[in-house]
């Protein structure tokens, strides 16, 4: 029955990914905390599972001409270089430490998301207020 849990973990990650939020940020802790997969293996699984998903979605985006190739070119070159170095670094770090660093990363990401959501909702209520005032006039 273990396979069912892996499908459900993927479902949760895909669900968020499909909504444009970081699916992997959730998939990795589900795999390690709930299913007992090692941190390295969970990270590897997330990277590799993402590739076919990404290709499918990109077909649609390219067709809709939504890609900014200039920003892409400038960003991707340093990203690949650093990723290769960081990948080797992660592979050499022991499981316990990598998991701890990942936890800290989650706290930072979660806090930024929370702040972004608060700013978003503040902007929204301001808009609604302006709209109400407008209606009063």
């Amino acid at each position: 029955m273990e396979w069912l849990w892996f499908i459900l973990a993927g479902l949760a990650g895909g669900l968020l990914g499909g909504m444009g939020m970081g699916g992997g940020t959730l998939l990795i802790p589900i795999l390690t905390l709930m299913l007992g997969i090692s941190q390295h293996m969970a990270q590897s699984t997330n990277l590799i599972v993402f590739i076919p998903m990404c290709i499918i979605v990109l077909f649609i985006h390219i067709k809709n001409k939504l890609i900014d190739f200039k920003a892409f070119a400038l960003t991707v070159i340093p990203a690949i270089g650093v990723a290769v170095g960081a990948g080797f670094l992660a592979a050499d770090i022991n499981e316990k430490n990598l998991k701890l660093y990942f936890g800290i990363f989650l706290l930072v990401v979660g806090a930024s998301l929370l702040i972004a959501a608060i700013i978003n909702s503040a902007g929204k209520s301001k808009k609604q207020k302006t709209l109400k005032n407008y209606k009063n006039i």
Binding site: G14, T45, I51, A83, F102, G103, L113
Partner: protein, 125 residues
């Protein structure tokens, strides 16, 4: 429609800086690059849709590069990956459909809290 953006020193520096952060998150943590990429592309001046689409294209080759390193280091389990992938594809479709029906803000709050909870669990317990 094509957006016209000026290439300034600031946009170039931001793009390169974003690339470094994305590469580090992707290679070291095996994910999370997209979450860094989208806000930085927004900062450069891309619209929300273009930022999301461009982020996907940036993350693809980066994930392939990182993935190759993880595989060569022996972190590969085909069975797990296939099951997770099957769930992911189904989840991705459901997520894309739900996006139109759900309150995005509530979902953002929930997601942020779940990520923080997972972080607390890992770091402190």
């Amino acid at each position: 429609m094509e957006e016209s953006r000026k290439t300034t020193f600031k946009t170039v520096a931001l793009s390169l800086g974003a690339g470094i952060l994305i590469g580090f998150a992707n290679g070291f943590f095996g994910g999370g690059g997209g979450m860094i990429c989208v806000p930085l592309l927004l900062l450069i001046g891309l619209s929300t849709k273009r930022a999301h689409a461009t982020a996907m294209l940036v993350i693809l080759p980066v994930s392939i590069a990182s993935g190759i390193i993880y595989i060569t280091k022996g972190f590969f389990d085909l069975n797990t990956m296939l099951y997770v992938l099957a769930g992911c594809i189904a989840g991705g479709i459901i997520g894309a459909v739900l996006l139109k029906k759900l309150n995005v803000l509530v979902t953002q709050y929930l997601f942020a809290l779940v990520v923080i909870a997972a972080g607390i669990r890992i770091v402190f317990f």
